[in-house]
Every structure is written in C-alpha cells, then in structure tokens.
Symmetry: C2
Subunit: 473 residues, 2 copies
C-alpha cells in the first residue's frame, strides 16, 4: 500500500470516529476515561518493559523453580513501586517437577539406521529407564482406538497419539480442546493395555520442529505402572507416521530423566487499591505467574501478568480512585496444579471477602478482540450496553463463555467472571514450546490488551455488579 491511497482511507477513519448511532449510547465521562486509559497504555505503557524483564532477565517460571521464586520477588517489588494500598504474598504449596537433562529420541528403521526426533517430556511424566526405552510403535488417532486394538496389539509397545488439531475451526482453542485429551490422559489410558510409553503429537497448528509440553495426569494409576510420556513436534509426528506406514515394525527410542519431588513453598503475588466506597467488595484482575520451562513463557502467561499489573498502574497514574477494592493477583501454578487459584479462592471464602468481579488474561498477548463472560443475564446485558464504548478500539467480541482457570474457583453466586479474548490464530504456534519468547510479543498488541482490561475493570467498578436475586431470563 502506498500513500496515494491514504486520503480515501482517512475519510473512512474519520467517518468511523464519528459514528452517530454509537455516540448516542456513550456516556461522555466513560468515553473520556477509556480514551485516557488507551492513551496512557500506548504512549507511556509499562507492560512491555515488565515483560522484557520477566522474560529475559528471569525466564521460564515452572512452579517450584528458582525462576518462579525470582518472578515472585520481582513482581512484588514492582507492585510496591506503584503506591498501591497493600502488596503481599499469599503462601501456597506447589508441586515441583523437573525436566532433568534434555530429552533424546530417535526412530530406528533398521539396526543402526536412525533419525533423530524432536521430543520433550510431558509435564508430570515419569522418566524412562536409565538407559532409555526402545520399543515398537502403534499409531492411533485417539484414546478410543485403544480398546479396539486391545492389549494384544498394544502390550510392550509405545502408543503414538497422532490426531492433529483441526485447522478449519476458527477458534484455535476449540481445535486444542479437540486434541488435548491425548496429551492429558494418553499415558494413563495406554498403560491399561500394557503400553510401555507414549508419544503425543504436539498441540500445534503449524508444521514445525518444536515439541510442545503441557500437563498430563496418571490419575490413580499405581506408581509402578506409570509409563513415560513425551510430545513430538508436528514435523516429527508426520515423519514418524510416514515411516511407520513404510516400516510398521520400526523402533522408537527415547530417554528422559524428569522427576516429581515433594511439594514446595511458593506464593501468589497480590496488590490492592482499597475501594473508596465499597472497601469490602473485591474485584480481581490477574494472570498466572508460573509458566512451562522450555521458554520464558512470554505469551503463556507473562503477558497476562504484566497486563494485570498495568491495569492497577494505569488507575494510579490516571488518579482513578476505584469504588471497590481492586486486586491484581499473579497466581502461582496454573500450569500443573492450579494451586494458586484454589488457594486464593479458599482464603477469600475463609476471610469472608465477597468478590463481585474477576478478569483473567491467559490467552496470549495478541491483539485483543474482546471478552467472554461467565455471567447471569442481567450483568451480561449491562456489558452489552458498553459495546459502543469499546468500538473505537476495535474491541467487538462480547460473548458468554469461559473466563480463566485461576479465577474459576472464585465463582460464587452472581459474581461475574471474564476472560480477555485476544486473537487466537497464532497462540498455539508458541504455546508450551521453546519459541514462546519475548520477541513473539508485539508491544502494541500487548498494550491494547492491558488497556481493554483496564477499561472493562473501570466500567464494572463504576456501574457495579448486580448480586441481588436473579432477574427472569
């Protein structure tokens, strides 16, 4: 595009800025506040610098790691600089799982004829035997194929789950949801049929060489029956599948030294601006401070943490004094335990702290498209009345739906939960893989998300949440 074309385009932008229908529904004070929030976030934002430090000075923050401890200290210190009314750490015990030395795998099509494969251990997996594990492979498209195959065809083998994410689903989280049972329950189910190990196709819509880790569970499988599980890159999965079709009796070798330790002490990081009118009614904005260990977790969920911190910083900078007590909560251990979210909800209940609204950002630092809401009709209709306020910022998506894992346990009565919904197309290119790094985050996109969150928080604070008896639907 060149500049000759700009005049006509600018006419369109000017037209857009003056939409009369929308303007009629907009309260001037609110639209001014949103403009101030977006201006401050885009012109003097702090979220990107924070993410730089969190990602590049600290790095991956798996629960129980030294990096997680550093991240707790760093974010607490940064929150303390903001002049909030309270900043504190909330103790929580978390699982500690370590990856050990880098994993190693190859495909052996004939004795001595091997091809390396890019794998990583799934989070929570046991190690292979010391010398690694070598076995024949049985490829399946999902858990339900195991029963059809039966013990006879599975016993002593490695099960290779290779159902890909469905590319024609527009919401990539839907495609993820359609596959992730292979990762989460694959080992538990395969062990029932005597499998000795599990290889899972990475949850990634791209063809590339990154293996993607993520949580798996053995359920109640006895310890001695637990089999090691790893993820293989999408390119690796295609290669393995093609090799199997040519040579069904090939051998797959992998070695991993991961290990689960006893729980260790960790913390949620919390900062609060105490409400001027309703100090005992709480609103929460947050993300999770832990990440997987293969990268610095800039999208998952460094972005959500710094955006949440930015919400409170923007309020302070704009001298906005909220009516409700507003807390930023950086939850620990979302990835492999959800202990932080659970602990926060337990304490809120024990201390009888009524929460009326909570907002989470945990879907990447991409251009915000809007929000999804776990809400009753009355409060959701109030949200819909705010749509015109968001339209100048190209925030269009306001739908009922999920919110965030960490805030889920807080749900109580008619409180409203919300999740930031950024553009999801690229999220699984990076999710839980070694390329989820700072350079994959765009400064403007991150800042637009923070400003959108601050705007929604401002509106809920200003207009409150109806917690009275349910209106008829």
């Amino acid at each position: 595009m060149n500049n000759t074309f700009l005049n006509s385009l600018l006419v369109g932008i000017v037209l857009l800025m003056g939409i009369p229908a929308a303007a009629q529904q907009v309260n001037k004070k609110d639209s001014t506040m949103l403009r101030q929030i977006f201006d401050m976030a885009l012109l003097e934002g702090k979220s990107y610098d924070w993410l730089d430090d969190l990602s590049n000075k600290i790095g991956g923050r798996l629960s129980g790691s030294l990096e997680a401890e550093k991240a707790i200290a760093f974010t607490k210190e940064e929150l303390e600089k903001l002049g909030l009314d309270r900043v504190w750490l909330q103790p929580v015990m978390v699982p500690k799982w370590t990856r050990g030395v880098p994993e190693y795998a190859f495909i052996e099509t004939a004795p001595g004829i091997t091809t390396l494969a890019n794998i990583c251990a799934l989070g929570g997996s046991v190690a292979t035997p010391d010398g690694g594990l070598k076995a024949q492979v049985v490829e399946v498209q999902g858990l339900d194929e195991l029963e059809k195959l039966g013990r006879e065809k599975i016993e002593g083998k490695i099960v290779f789950y290779n159902r890909p994410m469905q590319a024609n689903l527009i919401a990539t989280f839907n495609a993820y949801g359609g596959c992730v049972d292979q990762r989460y329950s694959g080992a538990k189910e395969a062990a029932k049929y005597g499998a000795v190990g599990v290889v899972v196709r990475s949850m990634n819509l791209r063809q590339d060489d990154f293996p993607h880790t993520g949580a798996m569970s053995y359920g109640d499988t006895p310890e001695k029956l637990r089999i090691p599980a790893c993820a293989i890159s999408t390119n690796g999965a295609n290669y393995l599948s093609a090799a199997l079709s040519l040579k069904p009796d090939l051998l797959f070798y992998f070695k991993q030294t991961c290990k689960m330790y006893p729980d260790v002490q960790s913390y949620n990081v919390i900062g609060e601006i105490t409400g001027s009118e309703f100090p005992d009614r709480y609103m929460v904005v947050g993300g999770h401070l832990d990440s997987w260990d293969l990268a610095d977790g800039s999208h998952d969920d460094g972005a959500g943490c710094v955006q949440s911190m930015e919400v409170l910083r923007l309020f302070k900078k704009l001298n906005y004094k909220p009516r409700h007590s507003i807390r930023v909560v950086l939850f620990m251990n979302e990835e492999n335990g959800l202990r932080g979210g659970t602990k926060y909800a337990e304490e809120a209940k024990a201390k009888n702290e009524p929460h009326v609204f909570a907002l989470e950002s945990d879907a990447g630092g991409f251009t915000p498209r809007g929000f999804s809401f776990d809400s009753d009709e009355a409060n959701f209709n109030k949200v819909l009345s705010w749509e015109p306020l968001f339209k100048p910022y190209l925030i269009h998506y306001f739908e009922k739906g999920g919110s965030g894992a960490d805030i889920g346990p807080l749900k109580n009565g008619k409180m409203v939960l919300a999740g930031l919904r950024p553009d999801s197309q690229r999220y699984f290119d990076y999710h839980h893989a070694a390329n989820d790094t700072f350079d994959a985050v765009n400064k403007r996109e991150l800042e637009l998300g923070a400003a959108s969150m601050a705007s929604l928080m401002y509106l809920f604070d200003t207009y409150g949440v109806q917690t009275g008896p349910a209106s008829k639907k």
Copy 2:
C-alpha cells in the same frame, strides 16, 4: 493456559456457534457456502504455498525489475492451471527506478568520530554526488516548520524530518497518514529553502534498526534542483536526534546511487471466470504484484495477490459458477506510479465493460477483521445484512471507508469498492522494510483473509449490486 480450563471455554464456543438471534437472519444456503469456503481455504488452501514461491523463489518485485517479470510469468502460469475461462496479460508501461549499491551513512560528531546509521534511499530519489554528501543537519517535526526556520537556517544543510507515528491511534494507517507527508513531499519542500538532502524518520511504530523505504515525489522541481532523500531507522532517528541535542553542528554523511530510467514494458496479470447469467457485468478481486525491493514483500502485497488468486481457485474447487464475470487482477506498479490500476480502469472504460464490484487486499496478510466500503447507502445496507453470516468467522468490521489504491480508478457510478481490513497493529513493523518476508506471515491468518474475501465476493455475486438510481439518503 492449561486444559483443565477448557471445558468451560468450550461451553462458550458452543454457545457462540448457536447464537439464535444471528441464526435467524442467515440464509442456510449462504451459511453453508461460507462454511465450505472457510473449510477449503483452511484445510486445502493454496495461498500460503503460492506466497512461499512468490517470496522465496522470486523475491522483491519492484516495477521494471527482473523479479517483477518473473512474478508475472509465475502467477500467469499458476492461474492457467486453475481452469479459468480466460487468463491474459494486460500491457502497461511502468517507471523503472533502481536502488544501486547499498546505501551508506554515518553521523560525525567530531572529525573522524563517526557512528554508522541505517538508511535506505526513498523510492524515486536521486543519487547523492559520487563521493556522497556531508552536511550539517536541521531537525524538524514536519513540513510546516520549514517556513518558520526560513532559508537562512536550512540552506546548505540536510533536513531531518523526525515526527514519529502517533502510537495512541488505534488504526495504524491513521498514524501512517499523519506522518507520510514527510516522506512523500519532504525533499520537494526542503529544496525550496536550499536544503542539500533529506533524512526521514522511518514510518514504523516500533523501535528497531530497519529503514523503511516508500514513494517520494519531486513534483515539478526542476531536475537540477532535486535533492537526495533517504529514510533512517527509528533507532537511528532517535540516536541522531539525541546526538543533535548534544552537538548541534554535527555532520551527517550519506551516499546512495539510485537512479531513474525511462519507462519499461510490464503487465497486469488477469484471470476470469465468465459469468453464467451476466457475462458482461464484471467483479474484480485483486492485489498488487509489484513490491518494494528491500524484501520479498510478503505482506505488501504478496499476501493480497495470493489471496485474490485463492478466491477464484476456491470457486473452481467448490464448483461455484458465478453469475457475474469474476476477474482476479494482479496490478503492476501500485507502489510508485499506480500505472496498473490506472490502465485497467482505462481499458475497462474503453471496452465498455461495466464493473459493479471490486475488492482489494493490500493491508497485509494478518487476521482479517472485516472490510471497508466505498459504497452508497443501499448497497452498504445490504452488506450490513450479511454481518451474521460472517460472525462465526470472527469477522466484525463492516464500515464505510477507503477500499484499495489499484481499484480506485475503476470507481464509476454506483459500483461498490471494498478493501479487506486485516488487523493493522503489526503492519508498519514490516511495511517497505527488509523484514517484510515470508516468515512474517502466518498461514492461518493469510487463509482466513482469502476465505473472507471469497465469502464477500460470493455474496455480491449472489445478491448483485444495485446500480439503479440512487435511493434517498
């Protein structure tokens, strides 16, 4: 985000897919067709492979270059494989400007004390003298400062235009529009005050080391009064500005060997599916095949070309027989002349080919957000009635506004022009710079754009364009 959270999220997605209000307004045949278009584009799309070839096998396609010739041959050949009714080349004479050897620049704060600066010649600029050009620098924030400074303070110096893009504008094209006069007219205006050269801050919202080229014009400045103009990277601009505040009499040196040649023969590439009902009424979908020369121009506008080709490919694959004659036009020379767009419109007029609709993609291969329309009320209202059809694909933006530079000259009577509007946040990170390369394009985002374009084209073909007397507004 982990998978524990997915169940609640999926509930939301299912709710979204079943929006009853939207569904009521949707024609089943149309929604089925859009679903088929998106499925085909995402599961068996060809646009990404085409872009790979165009970008990585051919490269930057500046008008008059060998690469532009190769791109014409390649795209014509690919269109011929699609089984269209006609594929042809439309001759057009284009300007030929070459960059010459890589540009070279430094900042000299004291004799022999120099710092290199990342620059590139602006498109259309003259060369510096053979030995380069060294002079003092006067920094300005825009064209209007020249008059205030006057000839006395400008004569014999290099004018440094340093007004940055405004980061708090949400539509980045608006921020571009607010700055690009410095690049386009900076040399012409500075020459009037006796400046010897011009350095322009790159049109880029990021801080980085890439200089961004783009068209400039000398207007009617006599040839011997034309002064060389270059762009400097945003990091370089900040450095130069800081150095000037410490050392106002520093010297800036730059050397460039760019040159304008006489016009050369080139072509628009055109393919057509002849209409079954209205073969003599035309609809066009297109992008521009030329690009700047610093990179392979994957976003600007390789993406728009392959998306436009994909629209016709999808129609053929889905066995859709359009009522109107639908043409894909790959326009030559958008960047520095608009000769292709002008020629196409001239010939359409000369041959009395009535065009009723044209759609351009020239804003990058990012996630599509919607379209802007140059349209009368009646046709625009028809577009708005299609909104529910697009909602499942997260296409929300339907506004009046500009369309595309190449299709602009076609505008005639009540025909409708439209432009694809992808997310614009990252566009100027790459625009006209050495990093506008294939790896910066995401396959899904590109394909979603192509599918959105095919959907809009299908709807206009199905429901037609009202070209009768204007309805009262």
